[in-house]
């Protein structure tokens, strides 16, 4: 008999079994929907955490203050050298004039300071470079590079101050927090994912346990392994497809009205307050669709495949 006829028959029996075993299908879909919802939540939490950590990282930089004697050409040379470093993400230049304007703006309410500044007669502020690293752990090496610039300079002292040394403790602490958070997030993802996968596997195993006598009859009438197993595998895939669609359809309104799905408590709302989960959901929909549907289908298919094996007697 040709394989196409066989496949059509197996698919038809899978669909028929799925519909006629309504209660079993309903139970499996319910458990799998909860599972996929938890997995979706873990993915969104992970994205929220990454986004928040990235925001923190973006707020950290190291500023190099130059002496007033340093020429614009020297500052430009150092800027170019910094930009050539692989660790550096962005370097922004603030000229002496701009620094003075910023200073005046900042202290416009303090007449005493402005008066003192006027009495000086000349601009006491040097130019500066703000350096942003790709990772917070890279500021140390950037600071070391700046030390070598100072040593190699032919025109004496050109760098007044690098504020990394003042902020080092805070930056190191932030680096640790980011690393630990990422590790914890991955560990939590794996733990939750594993727990939910086991629950789904047991549920489908139980569903197939109720059909063990049916499988026994199929064995006796001479059905091949594929012919016995196929319909259950198809039904398992259908559990995954339907559960995945339910989760994706539920997420849309939930995230629309509740931008932070991870908000299990008020603290996480505050922590992830700037993360727009709905935006992430719509932007990353293809990836989320594939992940959730793929997880559902693979889970349903593999669980059914292995659960039926136990009752095959050929």
């Amino acid at each position: 008999m040709n394989k196409w006829t066989n496949t059509k028959r197996v698919a038809r029996y899978g669909l028929i079994g799925f519909i006629r075993n309504g209660f079993v299908s309903f139970s499996a879909i319910l458990v799998m929907t909860i599972t996929l919802f938890v997995i979706a939540n873990i993915l969104l939490s992970h994205a929220a955490l990454n986004s928040t950590l990235q925001q923190l990282v973006n707020q950290v930089d190291v500023t190099v203050y130059f002496t007033t004697e340093t020429s614009e050409g020297e500052v430009s040379d150092i800027k170019r050298a910094l930009e050539a470093l692989p660790e550096v993400a962005l370097v922004s230049y603030t000229s002496r004039e701009q620094a003075l304007m910023d200073f005046r703006e900042r202290h416009k309410a303090d007449q005493l300071i402005l008066q003192g500044l006027d009495e000086l007669g000349e601009n006491p502020l040097g130019a500066s470079l703000s350096v942003r690293a790709k990772e917070t752990s890279q500021y140390e090496s950037i600071a070391k590079f700046l030390d070598t610039v100072e040593i190699n300079s032919t025109s004496g002292v050109i760098i007044e101050k690098v504020n990394f040394h003042q902020n080092k403790a805070a930056i190191d602490r932030l680096t640790d927090i980011i690393a630990t958070s990422r590790e914890n997030s991955i560990a939590r993802f794996l733990l939750f994912a594993l727990a939910t996968l086991v629950i789904v596997f047991i549920t489908i195993r139980f569903a197939i346990y109720t059909a063990r006598e049916e499988i026994g009859v199929m064995n006796i009438v001479g059905a091949s392994r594929w012919y016995v197993r196929g319909p259950f595998v198809i039904a398992g895939a259908l559990y995954g497809v339907i559960s995945g669609l339910i989760v994706l359809m539920l997420l849309y309104p939930i995230l629309l009205f509740r931008p932070v799905l991870v908000g299990l408590d008020a603290t996480s709302e505050i922590l992830f307050g700037d993360f727009d989960a709905f935006q992430y959901f719509t932007d990353s929909f293809p990836l989320l669709f594939l992940t959730i549907m793929g997880t559902g289908i693979v889970l349903g298919v593999l669980s059914s495949f292995f659960a039926v094996r136990r009752y095959l007697n050929v």
Partner: protein
């Protein structure tokens, strides 16, 4: 055609359920295997279609030792042995048509053959009007007729009937026995296990009597003598 060669079956080292049975069955025979509960009748049948393996000895179907067959060969063997059980063992989520069609599908028949043969075999066992019913909607007698229809639809060489009348009233019992005799008359070898004296006596063919796992009598035209 079928030959049990010094077959013993025991579970977990306990007392043998079947003990050194040697038994030959020729093509076209109708053999009634009788005995008390636990005599080993059902075990003897299960050994034939390899649902269980013997502890010692061999079971031959034609020239093949059933228990040394590959998976594919075993599937072919099972498609050539029709089976009917006391508890019917129909597929509960499939209707009568699908139950019978399933047996034909696994044997590789085309959809056209299936559509032609299923109504015909249902007519043979007298249950054509229930073709779209589900097993739960049928009486015991009707379910057993469906089971017989499924067992014979592929025209097997052997039909195994394990206590097929155990759950039936006298009228249905009579009908089922008549169907089995008709199938045997058409050339199919029938192996029947039963407790029912009137069934054995009405068949009037070879009777093998078992007790405590052994064959204690084998009469060519026997009656129920326990």
């Amino acid at each position: 055609m079928i030959y049990y060669d010094k077959v013993t079956k025991q579970y977990n080292g306990g007392a043998p359920v079947v003990h050194e049975v040697t038994l030959g069955i020729e093509p076209g025979e109708f053999v009634s295997i009788v005995g008390h509960s636990g005599a080993g009748k059902t075990t003897l049948l299960k050994l034939l279609f390899a649902e269980i393996k013997p502890t010692e000895g061999s079971v031959y179907f034609g020239s093949n030792d059933v228990h040394t067959l590959s998976s594919n060969e075993l599937l072919k063997l099972r498609r050539n042995i029709g089976t009917v059980f006391q508890d019917f063992r129909l597929l509960p989520t499939k209707n009568v048509y699908e139950n019978i069609a399933f047996a034909m599908e696994v044997a590789g028949h085309s959809d056209d053959d299936i559509q032609a043969d299923v109504p015909h075999v249902l007519d043979l066992v007298g249950i054509s009007d229930k073709i779209w019913s589900f097993p739960r909607e049928l009486s015991g007698g009707e379910q057993q007729r469906v089971a017989i229809a499924r067992a014979i639809v592929n025209q097997p060489d052997v039909l195994i009937a394990d206590e097929p009348t155990g759950n039936l009233d006298p009228i249905n019992t009579h009908d089922v026995v008549e169907i089995l005799k008709k199938i045997n008359d058409l050339g199919t070898t029938v192996l029947l296990t039963t407790h029912n004296r009137s069934v054995v006596d009405s068949v009037g063919r070879r009777v093998v009597t078992m007790d405590q796992g052994r064959v204690i009598r084998d009469d060519a035209h026997g009656k129920y003598t326990l």
